[in-house]
Symmetry: C2
Subunit: 145 residues, 2 copies
């Protein structure tokens, strides 16, 4: 009933997993499942760690992410806005909203991410989506490559 933190973003007996299957665009991300969900609390708690300079998949889906930054700093794209994030900030990713997490170049970005156990699969951007997103980010002066 207690999973001990061993330091450095690792928990006792919790395997460090690949972030996603191949075929998605991401870089240097690991995943640990801290709570699988139960009948009485049908949510899954995962810990993701993005290595310095790494980033998660740019995607959107109907399910909501509730994120608490646990370690390091970085930025998050939500819709067409980029926000810097630091340890202990709380981030909500609304339904059907493009999002991507990035670590800064110097430290890893570790975050807790809560989702429903039952959830839809992410949608990846088409070439046209990417063009629109890049254009919106250029206008707002916050372009991320």
């Amino acid at each position: 009933m207690i999973i001990r933190h061993e330091g450095d973003g690792r928990w006792e007996s919790v395997p460090v997993l690949a972030y996603k299957e191949a075929g998605n665009v991401f870089k240097d991300v690991t995943r640990q499942v801290l709570f699988e969900g139960s009948d009485q609390l049908p949510c899954q708690l995962r810990y993701f760690e993005v290595a310095p300079g790494g980033y998660s998949t740019l995607e959107k889906h109907q399910h909501v992410h509730l994120v608490v930054v646990f370690r390091g700093r970085g930025s998050v794209l939500i819709g067409s806005q980029v926000h810097s994030i630091e340890e202990r900030d709380v981030v909500t990713i609304p339904s059907n909203t493009w999002h991507q997490f990035r670590a800064t170049s110097d430290v890893p970005l570790g975050f807790l991410c809560l989702v429903n156990v039952i959830r839809d699969r992410p949608t990846l951007p088409t070439a046209d989506d990417l063009r629109q997103l890049r254009s919106a980010l250029l206008i707002s002066g916050l372009f991320m490559e």
Copy 2:
């Protein structure tokens, strides 16, 4: 969509609330609601902070708590066992299990606590429950007053 941590277990624009209504037995606990829950993620994320020497209500209920220790250290009673807890440990409180969080005497104990939005009300121990619990804790050598 981002709630900034201001340091010291406080978040921007998040009111620090009384832990519970009067009539419960607890000491020096505050509550902040970091996520109210939504249709797409019907969970509520709260941050509780127990001042040095303080403790939460001893209670049980059908709903499950998923807790991540965020700050300081202390102990948690789960059933008839007491466990020491430190920053970043993950604690699950199963259904219908007596539980109570306590800070050590020197530092506050801050923790994130996730629950379903729809949940049952806690049950408080009767004098008989307390007698049984004290007896079990004495036998296990981990008596908490």
